[in-house]
Amino acid sequence: MEKIVFKKPDSMTDATMHYCAGCGHGIIHRLICEVIDELGIREKVIAVAPVGCAVIAYNYWDFDVSEAAHGRTPAVATGIKRVLPERVVFTYQGDGDLAAIGTSEIIHTANRGENITVIFVNNGVYGMTGGQMAPTTMIGQKTQTTKKGRSVKRDGFPLKISEMIALLEGARFVERTSVHAPKEILKTKKAIKRAFETQIKNEGFSMVEVLSMCPIYWGLSSVEACKRIEKEVIKTYPLGVLKG
Amino acid sequence: MNEQIICAGFGGQGIMLMGKFLAETGMKNGYNVTWLPSYGAEVRGGTAHSMVHISRERIASPVVSKPTTCIVMNKPSLVKFIDRIKKGGLLIVNTSMVNKVPEKKGIKIVKLPLTKLASELGNVKVANMIAVGAFIGLRKTLSLKDIQEALNRILPSKKDLISINKKAIELGYKLV
């Protein structure tokens, strides 16, 4: 007798992903789809895609998706959720979208306690535009716009958005996870599920910050990129539940 | 009838309300009306004014550059507007707030201690409505019959103030 032990989530399309080898987006996309399947909410989900590498996430997700202007993602999600409070609305944003150009939107959306879920992918660089410094770039990290490494004097400090959001009364659940190792991937899935459940229970704003790899613009192999998160990145961005 | 009115004074003297009342009454009397306030930073600290057109004709600009009537509740407003009044026009001055009213040929000047009269009535804030009553009494183009309705419209949440405002209007009307 045949037994299916592994399959593509129903919420995923058959399209081949355009992401680079070793990139974390594919893993995170899939985790979201697994959670949506498990919660049985595919027909109730409306996602808002960012501007960045994940802009065409709708090619891989088999549910309703809207684009948004760069950083305005939470404002668009706010509009959707207010009109359709029974739907499950989430944004998927990178660190340029959420932590730079969209800082105002994310803070005020969280502070209003909008009952949406935010999946915030932090890989410390702008990927789509060619590897420039992001607000989340580590001190000393070399990027296209910090050739000698990010300097505190010139560029300031890595921005710890989740810690900021956790301080807001409107935010109900905030957790930082990572996808650099199988164990962490499972924790990430759990966190995403909890975030969606927070929304389904009408408890308010939920966000999962996921540390992710960008081997290409880190100038590392896929394996080295995973190691870098474990050895370096989580020192600046410690994992765990920040609120909730 | 083509009445172009400027009501002016300090913020808090009910300048906007005075204009709204005249426009509302004009509308009820079957005229075309417009009301235009001074707004925003313009009204911070200094004087406020509202401009009212009441006309048989379709009203072109709601901006009143040469008023046929000016109701001024304080001195800065008098200084600002006295020279703009059309020949044959009317100036109603609140002498409680203006100690000396300059002579001006070609216009009719009516001096009334509006603030003092209002406080005698029991509420200093109805000085504006005494002026409105005086205007109606002098110009005779608007009827007094719809006062109650107009007051109900512009003071919907202040039922207790309606009767004293009505008294104020009647007082102004009688005084002139």
């Binding site: 595919r42 027909e43 109730k44 989900v45 409306i46 808002v48 802009v55 065409i56 709708y58 997700w61 088999d62 549910f63 309703d64 998706v65 809207s66 684009e67 948004a68 202007a69 305005r72 404002a75 668009v76 999600a77 706010t78 509009g79 959707i80 959720k81 207010r82 009109v83 359709l84 739907r87 105002s104 939107e105 803070i107 005020h108 | 709204k20 426009a23 509302e24 509308m27 075309n32 009306v33 417009t34 009301w35 235009l36 306030p37 707004y39 925003g40 930073a41 313009e42 379709r58 009203i59 072109a60 600009s61 709601p62 901006v63 550059s65 419209r153």
Partner: protein, 360 residues
């Protein structure tokens, strides 16, 4: 959305004295708009305040957004779901909204945007102005697109046009801009509020969750070779259709006119009085008033031209609609201009003086 009382057919027609800002807001409510997001800016604050009150009364949604950007993008989100959505602002705020308007155009999402124009550039002042004509009618944001632009000239039209704007927006999946100014927003006039029943078709493209259908996608990113050009050609066809259907204008005493004043909005109501005064002085004057500023009534204006007719464009700007009038008439020597700017409003005397001088 919460159960909304789309209309109350029993409520009677009434004539009330209200500001243009309030009339505009009521027009939206009467159009069945139940989503508003805005940010404070003078001279349109009464409109935001009015919507906060009215949305409460009709179980609609009101959000005071953290920025103009957020406001237009909340409207984007509401429109994504198929809801009728409104945002309003004044010139500097409308500049900030341009990004969102471009995205709305790129995604073909209907929305109504009200601009109560004030003096510019920069922070300018808060007095009435008509200096955002270029921005409104020629696109405003990036890309090849147009919003339908309507220029009301009274509080009644602030009501009527805003209500109509939602129908136009839905019909073409397009943005519609109401281009008012500080005077039209702030002034009070009698307005007839006549409730009207709503007929609305479901929007099949809207995102509502993919129950019993394939997923819908709202997007403006088209990377595939040739896809964006194809989309732009499709947009252009839609704009051509709008040009055929939605041109609006008003003529006043133009039949035998030797000089025609061309003006919209507040300038047009002052110009109308000038026409009457000029006629009394035996000068054959008329008024042509574009109501749809985009699409602009080029042909209708040109058809007023008897070969020697003089045209005087009057605007509260340094001459923006002037360029469209020149395009229509194709003889710059006969197209004159009078403008006041920086918050100044042209007087009848000034316009008449200019009209007399170009008549010579």
């Amino acid at each position: 959305m919460k159960k909304s009382k789309i209309q109350n057919p029993k409520s009677k027609t009434k004539r009330i004295l209200i500001t243009g800002n309030e009339a505009c807001g009521e027009g939206a409510i009467q159009a069945g708009c139940r989503f508003y997001a805005g940010y404070p800016i003078t001279p349109q604050n009464e409109l935001t305040a009015y919507m906060s009150k009215r949305m409460d009364e009709v179980d609609g949604i009101f959000i005071q957004a953290e920025s103009e950007l957020a406001a237009i993008n909340m409207v984007f989100g509401a429109s994504v779901t198929g809801a009728r959505a409104l945002t309003t602002s004044s010139s500097p705020g409308i500049s900030l909204k341009q990004e969102g308007i471009s995205y709305l155009a790129g995604c073909e999402l209907p929305a109504v945007i009200v601009n109560i124009m004030r003096g510019g550039p920069g922070l300018g002042n808060i007095a009435p102005s008509q200096s955002d004509y270029f921005q409104a009618t020629k696109g405003g944001g990036h890309g090849d697109y147009h919003s339908v632009v309507l220029g009301p000239a009274s509080c009644q039209e602030m009501f009527d046009f805003t209500r109509m704007a939602f129908d136009i927006a839905d019909r073409y999946r397009n943005t519609v801009i109401i281009l008012g100014d500080g005077i039209l927003g702030q002034m009070m006039e009698p307005v007839i509020i006549n409730p009207r029943s709503q007929i609305r078709n479901p929007k099949k493209w809207a995102l509502t969750g993919c129950k019993n259908r394939k997923p819908n996608i709202i997007r403006s990113l088209l990377l595939k070779q040739g896809a964006l050009e194809e989309f732009n050609r499709k947009l252009q066809k839609k704009y051509d259709l709008i040009k055929r259907n939605e041109i609006r204008f008003e003529k006043y005493r133009t039949e035998d006119a030797e000089i025609i004043i061309v003006a919209y909005g507040t300038s047009s109501r002052i110009s109308r009085a000038c026409v009457n005064r000029l006629r009394k002085d035996k000068i054959k004057a008329g008024l042509f008033r574009p109501i749809s500023l985009w699409p602009f009534p080029y042909n209708a204006l040109k058809s007023q031209d008897k070969g020697k007719t003089k045209f005087l464009v009057v605007e509260m700007s340094m001459g923006q609609m002037l360029e469209d009038v020149r395009l229509a008439i194709q003889d710059d020597k006969r197209v004159h201009f009078y403008g006041r700017t920086g918050g100044s409003v042209p007087s009848e005397e000034e316009i008449i003086g200019k009209a007399v001088s170009c008549k010579l």
